[in-house]
Amino acid sequence: MSKDKTLGETLQERGVSRRSFLKFCATTASMMALPPAMIPVIAATLEKLRRPSVIWLSFQECTGCTESLTRSHSATIEDLIFDTISLDYHHTLQAASGSAAEHAREEAMQENYGNYILVVDGSIPGENNGYSTIAGISNKAMLLEVAAGAAAIVAVGSCAAFGGIPKADPNPTGAVSVSDLIKDKPIVNIPGCPPIPAVITGVLVQFLTFGLPELDQLGRPAAFYGNSIHDRCYRRPFYDKGLFADSFDDEGAKKGWCLFKLGCKGPTTYNACATTKWNDGTSFPIEAGHPCLGCSEPDFWDAGSFYKALSTPTEDIGKTAVYAGAAGLIAGAALGASLRARKQSAVKNHERVTIDDLDQES
């Protein structure tokens, strides 16, 4: 495919009808939670889009994000859009390996310097290069080098966005997120473990159509991460009524009651699972009867057990109370003894009670 053709021309050449294209624009708008009035705008912009170059780097990751993206959809027009994107370098997907692959990356960088989009999945280990190296280049060095020529960076998955599982306590590799290392480029975070595939494609399309999307405090596109799971959860009426499942197979669970007691992190998790859902809109964890793990939030792995209610302390409070009681006993006994001694001496010396004594606060 020629690099200077517009997306519209390419699609036409491939025999993709205008109707197909409109359908794609309509479903994409719906996915991006844009009002239907925006459909013609998406169509007009995408049509004129010229093939952007994309470099995809994978660092400390499990390939789940790439799997999520590539396995979920059958051949659809999204794939054509992806064809239109020139995926010049993707560690996992490309056929070339070793120095040939690195050569492709360098070429793509040179050709589109300052204009390509850098997609990253996986977190970046700290100073010790031994944790993760590609073709002898440390992850950090490669990220800095490629980021320097990128127009913008998309961090796919919780690892790239927030450090994810590699960063979980005690963070053996000293893992950090993309935004920990890169400060001078626009970064879009698409967290999730993995992110919803439709959200990955949706953000990329949104990015290509409208430029940098509106981002929240954590760099997530508001269109997909603007609502919490809890706000959009169909079990919410049960939460409000105070009807909770107490275990995975009790009456409440069978009746589809709220999963808060079973550790649901929906109230603090921002993602599109409750509306976009998974597997082409079939279902999502809560609909399948499992509490939300909060995988698209920072440090989700360290928020205590997945099955511990969100409102409860993460540490062992019962034990703390017992220790505190013991400490209090010792301190209190000492204090009590000294007060008693003071009282006895006061009685012996016939000390007078003054106004100040009575005015003591505690």
Binding site: R18, K23, P35, D280, G281
Partner: protein, 142 residues
């Protein structure tokens, strides 16, 4: 598979117990308002059903209430799309499927004919080219 493409097992497990969100009636009113606006000002309106939280089963009951009218068209465009005029003229239900026949988008449009049902200028042009090619091929052969 059921009418709206949801695997039957999912519906059976979650539909009977999901409490209604209460969004159904307001939705029907939105359609009513849109119809009045169309009659008075000719203004078209699109509702994206994905943008409205509906409990499992609630969408089915919406579709049931809208029913099926005189037109039922199926488009074959990278996965089928169903364009159905509901019991209420000018209220169209458009369901887009991907090639696995899973729903990827569902809209209600209030208009005379949904835009996507009309032949598109680009496609007409391409079609004309094909016809001309065919004719000129036939002529040279003749």
């Amino acid at each position: 598979m059921t009418a709206n493409g949801m695997p039957a097992s999912t519906i059976a497990s979650s539909a009977p117990c999901a409490p209604p969100t209460g969004n159904l009636v307001p939705l029907l009113h939105e359609i009513r308002h849109a119809l009045t606006r169309w009659l008075e000002q000719g203004e078209e309106h699109v509702i994206d059903l994905r943008s409205i939280p509906l409990a499992p089963g609630e969408e089915d009951s919406l579709l049931e209430q809208l029913g099926e009218g005189e037109v039922n068209a199926r488009l074959s465009i990278t996965g089928p799309s169903d364009i159905i005029e509901t019991r209420y003229p000018a209220v169209w239900l458009i369901t887009h499927y991907n090639e696995n026949e899973s729903i990827i988008g569902r809209f209600i449009e209030i208009c005379e004919v949904p835009g996507i049902l009309k032949s598109q200028a680009d496609d007409i042009r391409a079609g004309l080219e094909r016809l001309e090619d065919q004719l000129s091929n036939a002529e040279t052969r003749a």
